[in-house]
Symmetry: C2
């Protein structure tokens, strides 16, 4: 594998454990950035929509994508689609969009490694012997990009983020600040969602 | 400020720019961990629910929380509540829950720094002179925890993550794998959500 597609050491510190998926997401992110012609996102220009959901494994890919691209959850640049698929669309308004997914043949071949036997027994990644994790990570590193990833340009993809506002109000009940989009009204007073009891 | 509440250098690399909110989220995360008696989460034991939404500023706090706690978006340990508030609840099933929020007086005092004048003019954080960013970051560092944060134990807080399954099926249309929870049925065949046209 091209060295530029290997995560820096701090990426494992951020993520918390050694698993194959954070590095796969990192490599996917780096390849997508190259494909779009974008750099690590400093501010708010690049969006990533992983087709990940909940209640399934292999979601760690998203941490690798955050690390590689700079399109982080904290900057509101990453949002899951809840499709339960190992894929993501990378979108930059000036550069277009590309979708990367893991090929089924790759997923099948990878699934034979001992790491997944441990996971299926419910053993947490940090408790799996490092050599078992490194075995599958090393195997993946040695596979060519086109065995792992399907790549699809998405020329029609569009996304418009919510219009931002700095306006805020104090909740009449708890006294905490609420940004305006989320201010609700109760008994004629500005109220935050939890104090309003409206649920959303 | 206690040095242990200052983010490591790689945290700024991950986040992409120097702003006051990533470090505030980091400090909030570290304090909450101490309050709960938990370490940086290696696997899947600690959950963070930021009361952040979309279309408002200061969301960068969430990146600091991910970095401090290890409760990352990729590990499905962080989920926004969409309340538009600068607060978060930290929850560990064996240790309980605590909510941290930014005090309104702190938010008002911080808002007078020049950094926010730049942001309100639409200037992206990476384009704001470093000394302007460091001025507000330095001021925050010098404030005591109890001027910045309101802390509330939440003894009744509960959260149960979606039950996980490794089962998956190939979509009859696109041939890609879908985890079972997200498999839909169309013309009697297993189908992924995008191919089904059902939308969710």
């Amino acid at each position: 594998m091209n060295k530029e597609y290997a995560p820096p050491e701090w990426a494992f510190e951020f993520h918390g454990h050694r698993c194959p998926f954070m590095p796969i997401g990192y490599r996917m992110g780096k390849l997508a950035m190259k494909s779009l012609g974008v750099e690590h996102e400093k501010d708010h220009g690049l969006f990533v929509f992983p087709e990940i959901g909940e209640g399934h494994p292999q979601t760690c890919m998203m941490d690798g994508m955050q690390i590689a691209t700079g399109a982080t959850y904290g900057k509101l640049l990453m949002a899951k689609t809840f499709y339960g698929k190992l894929a993501a669309t990378f979108y930059h308004p000036q550069k277009g969009a590309v979708r990367y997914s893991l090929k089924p043949e790759f997923i099948d071949a990878m699934g034979k490694f001992e790491f997944f036997g441990y996971r299926k027994k419910g053993i947490e990644p940090s408790q799996i012997p490092e050599k078992i994790a490194d075995e599958v990570i090393g195997w993946i590193d040695s596979q060519p990009d086109d065995f792992i990833f399907k790549v699809e340009p998405k020329p029609d993809f569009r996304f418009t983020p919510a219009k931002g506002s700095f306006n805020k109000a104090k909740c009449s009940q708890c006294g905490e600040y609420v940004f305006e989009r989320y201010v609700r009204t109760k008994d004629g007073q500005p109220t935050c969602i939890p104090c309003s009891g409206y649920g959303k």
